[in-house]
């Protein structure tokens, strides 16, 4: 598959601190990639760098194989849904969703049609005339999504898409989002600190730590084989002990434990166990 987005050694410095530290990342067309990490790991900066809202200190961002250096945000053709939605308060729902279409010079009639379709799609049919301030958090999130989808961005980026919503709403919406993106064939790069959200949404998960990529892989791979102690603990494995692996057995403080095939041998290996029976 051709890479729609690729980052090559992308680096962003805030003072002496590297918020993004030589990050390499590929996102293929129609792929849904979730960047997972604790707050302050550089996830949002990654999105801002791709969107053109944050300039790189080193490295490159490529879209469709073209270097985006010097291309301003409004010409990159990517969508970004902000963490706190950032709906335009002085416009109604329809005005918000149509904004991107208007900026791209879409004729008025076509705008109205597309807004109606999108609002239907996100589950808010006929909401065009409603004031943004009258919407609940979940509804605002849906409007923000419709607004980001409207100009058909080649890449849609979501910054903590469900961050401000309550648990049950989040669980429902994450499934809806996944279905929606599959249906539209949208390429998505999402950022979250919630592993459940990332695993439910993504084809591929990228775990970040302090501006670097700690691990990348399918949700299953990352879940079964965390690359290091940080990733394991971040994913919720509390019991991490040093172990010496010989053959299919690991010597740990808990005694001998069976390990899957292909585990690296030696004293430095660690063994993580989060579930009863140690997975």
């Amino acid at each position: 598959m051709a890479s729609l987005l690729s980052l090559r050694e992308a680096t962003v410095q805030f003072g002496a601190r590297a918020v993004l530290d030589a990050v390499d990342l590929e996102v293929a067309e129609h792929e849904i990639v979730c960047v997972l990490g604790p707050s302050g790991s550089g996830k949002s900066t990654l999105l801002r760098a791709v969107a053109g809202l944050q300039s790189l200190d080193a490295g490159r961002v490529e879209l469709d194989g073209r270097d985006q250096r010097g291309v301003p945000a409004h010409k990159r053709g990517v969508g970004l849904m902000f963490q706190d939605h950032q709906l335009f308060p002085q416009r109604d729902v329809g005005g918000n969703v149509a904004f991107g279409l208007r900026m791209h010079g879409v004729p008025r009639g076509e705008q109205a049609d597309r807004v109606a379709v999108l609002l239907e799609l996100v589950g808010l049919p006929k909401a065009q005339r409603r004031a943004v301030a009258s919407l609940s958090g979940g509804e605002q999130q849906r409007v923000a999504l419709a607004r980001a989808l409207a100009p058909r961005p080649r890449l849609l980026m979501l910054d903590e898409p469900l961050g401000q919503l309550d648990r049950s709403l989040r669980e429902r919406l994450v499934v809806e989002l996944r279905e929606l993106f599959d249906e539209l064939g949208t390429t998505v790069l999402a950022v979250t600190h919630d592993q459940g959200e990332a695993f439910a949404l993504a084809d591929r998960v990228v775990v970040m730590r302090e501006g670097r990529i700690a691990q990348a892989g399918t949700p299953l791979e990352v879940w079964q084989r965390p690359a290091d102690e940080f990733v394991a603990r971040f994913l919720g494995f509390e019991n991490v002990v040093p172990a010496t692996v010989t053959g299919e057995r690991a010597d740990t403080a808990w005694g001998k434990i069976p390990v899957p095939h292909g585990a690296p041998t030696g004293r430095s290996s660690r063994f993580w166990c989060g579930r009863p029976g140690c997975g």
Partner: protein, 324 residues
């Protein structure tokens, strides 16, 4: 006032200049202290619609306070103005518009032109001064919204200076500074609106600044990602939010320019007086007729101010209600 007396009546420029410098130093000191105290308290305000904040007074205490305020307003503002209006109609031969009729004739008066022309002069100057003040003040406020370094804060204080040092100093400064090429503007009509705009700029900055600060920069980023160029984003995001503040600022600048006396009196040319200057000049001459004309002209100034205020109020509530 002493500066004005020294300049206008005694033409003692050195004394006036020294007095000006003393005033400058005092105001500069106060502004520095003000900037220092304000810096720590500044933050973006969430603006609430007046209708949402207004409520009826509760309890005897609040009613008493309200009554006190109304009474103060009545005694200190409405009463003097009312007496002025009433006297302006009490002509030499009983009640009538005799003084007003006199305003339209240039003969034997204090001016080269009929005093009534001051109305047109004032309005024209006010329009131009408002334009200048809004553009300069708006740009200054926009610049001050950006992250403030020491230099920018100094700039902020500098913009407040005309307000503090009194308009007389501004006019005096204009008079002695802009009289040599390449900046010889003494003969130009633009001098008056320029001075008036300078006095109006602090009002514009103070009105615009809190509103501009309250506009979230990420809204502009949201617009950019959706395909809006920086200029377009400003027009689509910032402008609708600051339009009301802009109109209020323009109103302030306009009213300020209409009533401005201290600076204008130095630089307005005799054949082009503004309303307040004409009133003062009429008062400066002896005779019942001049006195009566001054009162009539004051009444006209009052009406012009009130009408322009009401017009602005209408635009404001018509176009931008409920935007905050």
């Amino acid at each position: 006032m002493e500066i004005y007396r020294q300049t206008a009546q005694l033409l003692d420029l050195p004394t006036a200049a020294v007095l000006t410098l003393v005033q400058f130093a005092a105001v500069g000191l106060i502004l520095a202290i003000h900037a220092w105290t304000v810096r720590r308290r500044e933050s973006a305000l969430k603006l609430v619609d007046a209708a949402g904040a207004a409520r009826r007074p509760r309890g005897a205490g609040q009613w008493a306070l309200l009554g006190l305020v109304v009474a103060t307003v009545a005694v200190l503002i409405l009463l003097p103005l009312g007496v002025l209006v009433q006297r302006s109609f009490a002509g030499p031969d009983g009640f009538g518009a005799a003084y007003y009729r006199e305003l339209t004739s240039a003969e034997g008066g204090a001016f080269l032109v009929p005093p009534i022309e001051a109305v047109g002069n004032s309005l024209q100057y006010a329009v131009v001064a408002t334009g200048i003040a809004v553009v300069i003040g708006g740009l200054a406020a926009a610049a001050l919204t950006r992250r403030a370094g020491r230099l920018v804060r100094g700039f902020d204080a500098l913009l407040m200076l005309p307000l503090g040092v009194s308009a007389v100093t501004v006019g005096f400064g204009f008079l002695i500074a802009l009289d040599e090429p390449p900046l010889d503007l003494r003969a130009s009509w633009i001098l008056v609106p320029l001075a008036q705009a300078l006095v109006g700029v602090p009002f514009v900055v103070r009105t615009m600044l809190p509103v501009l600060r309250a506009v979230d920069g990420r809204l502009r980023e949201a617009a950019a990602v959706l395909g809006a160029s920086p200029l377009r984003a400003w027009r689509e995001v910032d402008l609708p939010m600051v339009r009301r503040a802009l109109l209020i600022a323009a109103g302030f600048a306009f009213e300020e320019s209409l009533g401005e006396f201290g600076a204008t009196v130095f630089i307005a040319r005799p054949d082009n007086p503004t309303l307040p200057v004409a009133v003062a000049r009429l008062l400066g001459r002896a005779g019942d007729l001049n006195y009566g004309q001054a009162m009539a002209l004051s009444t006209i100034l009052m009406v012009v101010c009130a009408v322009s205020l009401l017009l602005l109020e209408r635009i404001r509530t018509d176009r931008t209600a409920g935007e905050f």
